[in-house]
């Protein structure tokens, strides 16, 4: 074998051939002229600990996916409906309850039985307007980003950052609210679990986080079935309940004392403000409408069209569910109960299905859907984070994708903050709702205002009709944003009012930092760089003469053409030892000046750094300062436990020199195994540190 070529004889004497080794094939593949593609083995760990870590990660998250496998990660409409719509659809599980609670807290509980339905129909009307508006967004902005993209293109940077901040808060609260509500559904069916609501919520968030870190496609498979099971059982409940109300005159379960008292209040006592509050509370049903517009790139081609179709399907399903559940709650005279916790939807299901397995199945599907609704945010939050990171408003690592093509940083951050919010809210949905609605409606208002500007700017076919839809939506959602903020300000909305400008300020700060760095590093396009314009000087701190030092000196010599620009520095407390070293140095390393620095205070790092400063000061002021290359001989330890024994002085010196102007640090590692066969053993010498 000569240089990776092995001669092999053929059948005939003249048919000799040479088999050529291809050492790159295990790790790389030539994919184009001058272009290599790394294989998985190229990034495989080489240490035992590293391999164990990768194996554990593989068990938890699955095997790493290559970029070209991404196309398989795109979602079909059916799967996307389950993933992106679970947030919106699941809000029907608590939106009705929030309307009823608004009447109860205003002291007109009885009005809930007559006015909740008209309020829910009005909200469904608003949902239609918002859905039509976002349908336009899907088509006009196929790259995703939803409100952020719309406002960035039409309203400028500041509005887009407000929208982005509101969205990030919205997605985080979606996880917290959906999880809390899911746990309440479980507690409604199994009251003994009520004390463990927070813990159950945190475990659920952890599992969903891991599921999403495994990648979107698998998340879709896990989550699609429960969404459709909930839809089936909820529509069955609405159908059966409506039939019993209309054709059998069913008026619900025997009234509790609270219901009897509530029914004694008259509708005439309800003012417009209470109605607005009820409307604002029930409008949480609209949360999640944005998610599909944000996730357009996750759809299979044609992305825009598929996203728009899915969005409209979601809106119809949500409207029917929400109005249907409110109709049943009003007709059955159902009010939420706290002790023990009985949600409105759980009471409806118990009345319609009875205390049978169907009721428990429905509660399980509802809880599952709500847990999975959190997944909507786990799909949308990291995508928005990636868009923001690419635009330089949040750290760049949010744009990097992990082994499974998921935006791991965004997923982990979302899971962590949402878990903290669940803990802070004590696992209560109602406690979090005031924070939730504010961001959602600020976001809707900005998005729809952006679309108004879009139509005014582009004036494409049918722009007047589209503009009127978006303008109506913008005005209505704007009013609701103001109402929600004012009526729930002290209940928690103030936190969002503080948080949004804070996030905007942070994002602007990060953007300024990135912009300044880019300007600092920018290179003019017309310049040609053919040779270094700075001279180079090499300084080698040494601790004597040994193989490691000789290797470093030889390397240093190769860096400079002018021998006057190379010198070794020996810091010592013992001048006699220094003189002995000098004699030997001049004999064995002729032509390499050795500078001895006596250090009576026994310091090592300080004298070396100061010596470099002095060298710079001594440089002719009319010439550009040279680049100082500090070559550090380094003995490579063979085991993890003996690393502490070596190179401590070099490490301290390195720390002192990092970031020093015009200074480059070059480590020259000496590996014992490479030189073991050399005949002469090294002369005894002091080792560094």
């Amino acid at each position: 074998m000569i240089g990776g070529r092995r001669p092999i004889s053929g059948r005939k004497p003249g048919d000799k051939r040479i088999r050529v080794e291809r050492p790159h094939t295990a790790y790389f593949r030539y994919s184009g002229p001058g272009q290599l593609t790394a294989k998985a083995a190229a990034s495989a760990p080489t240490t035992t600990f590293g391999r164990a870590r990768v194996r554990l990660k593989g068990v938890l998250l699955g095997r790493p996916l290559a970029n070209e496998e991404e196309i398989g990660e795109r979602l079909s409409k059916k799967k996307a409906l389950a993933i992106f719509s679970s947030d919106a659809i699941s809000s029907s599980a608590y939106a009705t309850e929030e309307i009823i609670l608004a009447f109860i807290l205003a002291g007109v509980a009885g009005a809930a039985f007559t006015l909740a339905l008209p309020v829910s129909i009005a909200i469904a009307g608003l949902l239609a307007i918002v859905a039509f508006s976002y349908r336009q967004v899907c088509v006009a902005y196929p790259t995703g980003g939803g409100s952020y993209s719309v406002s960035k293109a039409n309203l400028g940077r500041n509005f887009s950052l407000i929208a982005a901040s509101a969205l990030l808060i919205d997605y985080t609260l979606t996880v917290a609210v959906s999880t809390s509500s899911a746990v309440e559904q479980i507690a409604s069916a199994v009251p003994s679990l009520d004390p463990w609501r927070v813990e159950i919520g945190i475990v659920a968030i952890l599992l969903i986080t891991i599921g999403n870190l495994r990648g979107l496609r698998e998340a879709g498979n896990i989550f699609a079935i429960p969404t459709y099971l909930f839809l089936g059982s909820a529509f069955l409940m609405i159908g059966v309940g409506t039939y019993r109300i209309l054709f059998q005159g069913d008026t619900g379960p025997p009234p509790t004392p609270e219901v009897v008292e509530a029914m004694s209040h008259t509708v005439e006592s309800v003012g417009i403000l209470i109605l607005l509050r009820a409307f604002a509370s029930g409008a949480v049903a609209l949360t999640g409408t944005e998610a599909i517009a944000t996730g357009v790139p996750a759809f299979k081609p044609q992305e825009s069209r598929n996203a728009a179709t899915t969005l409209m399907a979601m809106a119809v399903i949500l409207a029917v569910l929400f109005v249907g559940i409110t109709f049943l709650a009003s007709s059955f005279h159902i009010m939420p109960m706290e002790n023990p916790k009985q949600t409105v939807i759980a009471q409806i299901a118990r009345w319609v299905y009875g205390d049978t397995v169907l009721f428990y199945l429905f509660q399980a599907f509802t809880a599952l859907l709500l847990f999975l609704a959190a997944n909507t945010s786990f799909a949308a939050f990291p995508r928005l984070g990636a868009v923001l990171a690419e635009d330089g408003f949040i750290p760049r690592q949010f744009a990097f994708r992990g082994d499974r093509l998921a935006y791991s940083t965004g997923i982990i951050l979302l899971g962590t903050i949402a878990a903290l919010v669940v803990i802070a809210g004590g696992g209560s949905t109602h406690a979090l709702i005031p924070l939730y609605a504010v961001g959602v409606f600020i976001d809707f208002t900005i998005a729809q205002s952006g679309m108004v500007r879009h139509w005014l700017r582009t004036k494409t076919q049918g722009w007047r009709r589209r503009l009127s839809i978006n303008a109506t939506g913008a005005v209505l959602t704007g009013i609701i944003a103001v109402v929600v903020t004012s009526v729930k300000f002290f209940a928690g909305a103030y936190l969002v009012v503080i948080l949004i400008p804070t996030l905007v300020a942070i994002m602007l700060f990060i953007h300024r930092q990135y912009t300044a760095q880019a300007a600092e590093l920018a290179v003019r396009d017309d310049l040609v760089f053919d040779r270094p314009h700075r001279r180079q000087r090499v300084v080698i701190p040494v601790n004597g003469i040994n193989r490691s030092v000789i290797q470093a000196v030889m390397f240093g010599k190769s860096l400079v053409s002018d021998p006057a620009m190379l010198q070794a520095v020996f810091v010592t407390t013992d001048l006699d030892e220094a003189e002995q070293l000098r004699d030997r140095w001049e004999r064995q390393l002729p032509g390499v000046p050795l500078v001895v620095v006596e250090s009576p205070y026994r310091a090592l790092v300080g004298p070396v750094v100061t010596y470099l400063d002095v060298l710079e000061r001594a440089w002719p002021p009319d010439q550009e300062l040279p680049t100082t290359i500090v070559v550090l001989p380094e003995y490579v330890a063979r085991h993890w436990w003996d690393r502490l024994l070596y190179n401590q002085a070099a490490k301290r010196l390195k720390s002192a020199l990092v970031g020093r102007e015009h200074t480059v640090i070059a480590d020259v590692p000496y590996r014992r195994s490479e030189h073991r066969e050399e005949a002469e053993p090294p002369a005894p010498s002091r080792t560094g540190g």
């Binding site: 092999i8 053929g10 048919d15 051939r17 040479i18 291809r22 030539y30």
Partner: protein, 152 residues
Amino acid sequence: VGDSSTPQFRRAVVALSGGRTDRQIVSLASEIAKAGHADLVGVHVVEIDWTLPLDADVAGRDEAAQRVLDIAEATAEASRFKLETVLLQARDVGAAIVDEAIERGSDLLICGLPFRRRFGGEFAVGATIPYILKNAPCAVWVIREAMPEEQA
């Protein structure tokens, strides 16, 4: 083509020329080999002319030659099949391929034939395929590229 229940080959050598047919034959061979749990070896030969010693450092530095095998390997991987690759340099391409197939105990040799007409006349088969057909002790499949429509 024999009974579909028995493997059509145990080990096949696929001769890769770096031409248009490489992807097609590797893809086809991979699918068949996968179904029959057979082995597949992709061979590319860099011809060394008489001005250079046979063991000159040519193929190892030839990025284009490496690319021929890497692309074949990637094509096989797309069919979820592992293709072994061999890079050779020789005076005669046909002889090197046949000798490699014999040494590896292959029972099939697969070659691709791009459709081309030279000098506006005869359909050009070249020298390698006739050599293989004449000298290979195992079965040989020659997969010719389809004719362009205007010539069909």
